[in-house]
């Protein structure tokens, strides 16, 4: 029962993140929201009993892509 409520909250957070990452104008903020999306997605994978995918999601989604996006922003512009 408690885990159901937790899962619902996590999925709600994912939807809010997905909508706000498309609407926000500040690109650095968008990268940070995207990283938090990946982090929560990793928890959801763990809830679905797929720890291997959870580790991959945390390493690739929250780590590699965020750092590459930050590097891209530093080489171009911060505003959309």
């Amino acid at each position: 029962m408690m885990t159901d409520i937790l899962n619902m909250l996590l999925l709600l957070f994912l939807i809010v993140c997905a909508i706000s990452v498309a609407r926000i104008r500040d690109l650095l903020g968008a990268v940070i929201i995207f990283a938090s999306y990946s982090l929560v997605m990793a928890i959801v994978w763990q809830q679905l009993e797929a720890p291997d995918i959870a580790i991959t999601e945390a390493a690739i989604g929250a780590g590699v892509t965020s750092l590459l996006f930050i590097a891209t922003i530093s080489k171009t512009r911060r505003e959309e």
Partner: protein, 234 residues
């Protein structure tokens, strides 16, 4: 030329056919998605692969052929990134910097703290791929992230990209050779070269070897992508 109305009608008819085929395929779903494979893996997987982590057992034994091409896709992606960025191989010293927005001191301090922990955790995941969740790819990605953090700490870090690419190709060849070893010992390609009869402690040798090779290959491949990416657009 067709009129726009008839074009839309053709589109609707085509979509109806596609959805009809999709609906027709749902009828046979029960026979398509049965539990035969799952039951087989649960019954025989632990003995045949010698791995405590069944996912690693499937990746490195039953589905090794798929895993090889998965590693090959990364090799092709690295070649594509290098071809797109087209920088000179002789060019050293990627001048990675945040020009307008300097890297915050807080980020650098935390990066120095996180770097050794992340590298150690990546190596831990690679070496324990047969015992705990994770494996070569996950551990390699973590180690590559640690190396990427190093670029944020040290702005004057030099990388000889040609040497990294060469090491990655050699590692990929080594993975294929280790996968083909079973052709000589067990006369079937792409499986564990130690027979299950030899015992789990010897089967683990193969699993750890292949996990370490795949982990190093993934780490070097992602490292190459970072370096090519950071040099680009200087």
């Amino acid at each position: 030329m067709l009129s726009s109305v008839s074009r839309k009608l053709i589109l609707i008819a085509a979509m109806a056919v596609v959805f009809g085929l999709f609906a027709a395929s749902l009828i046979d779903l029960a026979s398509l998605y049965n539990d035969a494979t799952k039951d087989y893996f649960f019954e025989h997987g632990f003995e045949e692969t010698g791995s405590n982590n069944l996912v690693t057992g499937i990746l490195l034994d039953y589905r090794l052929f798929d895993s090889l091409f998965e590693a090959g896709i990364l090799l092709v992606a690295v070649s594509g990134v290098i071809w797109v960025s087209k920088h000179d191989f002789a060019d050293k010293n990627p001048n990675f910097m945040i020009d307008k927005y300097k890297t915050p001191d807080l980020f650098i301090s935390f990066a120095r703290l996180v770097y050794p922990l992340l590298l150690a955790f990546g190596l831990y995941i690679i070496l324990n791929g047969h015992l705990s969740p994770g494996g070569g790819f996950q551990g390699g990605a973590l180690a590559a992230t640690a190396i990427l953090i190093l670029y944020f700490i040290d702005k004057n870090k030099e990388t000889d990209i040609k040497r990294i690419v060469t090491i990655e190709k050699v590692l990929y060849l080594a993975i294929i050779l280790v996968a083909l070893l079973s052709l000589f010992t067990r006369s079937t390609a792409f499986t564990n070269f130690v027979a299950p009869a030899a015992g789990r402690q010897w089967q683990v040798v193969y699993l750890v070897t292949l996990n370490v090779l795949i982990g190093l290959k993934v780490a070097f491949g992602l490292w190459t992508i970072f370096t090519a990416f950071l040099k680009e657009g200087r």
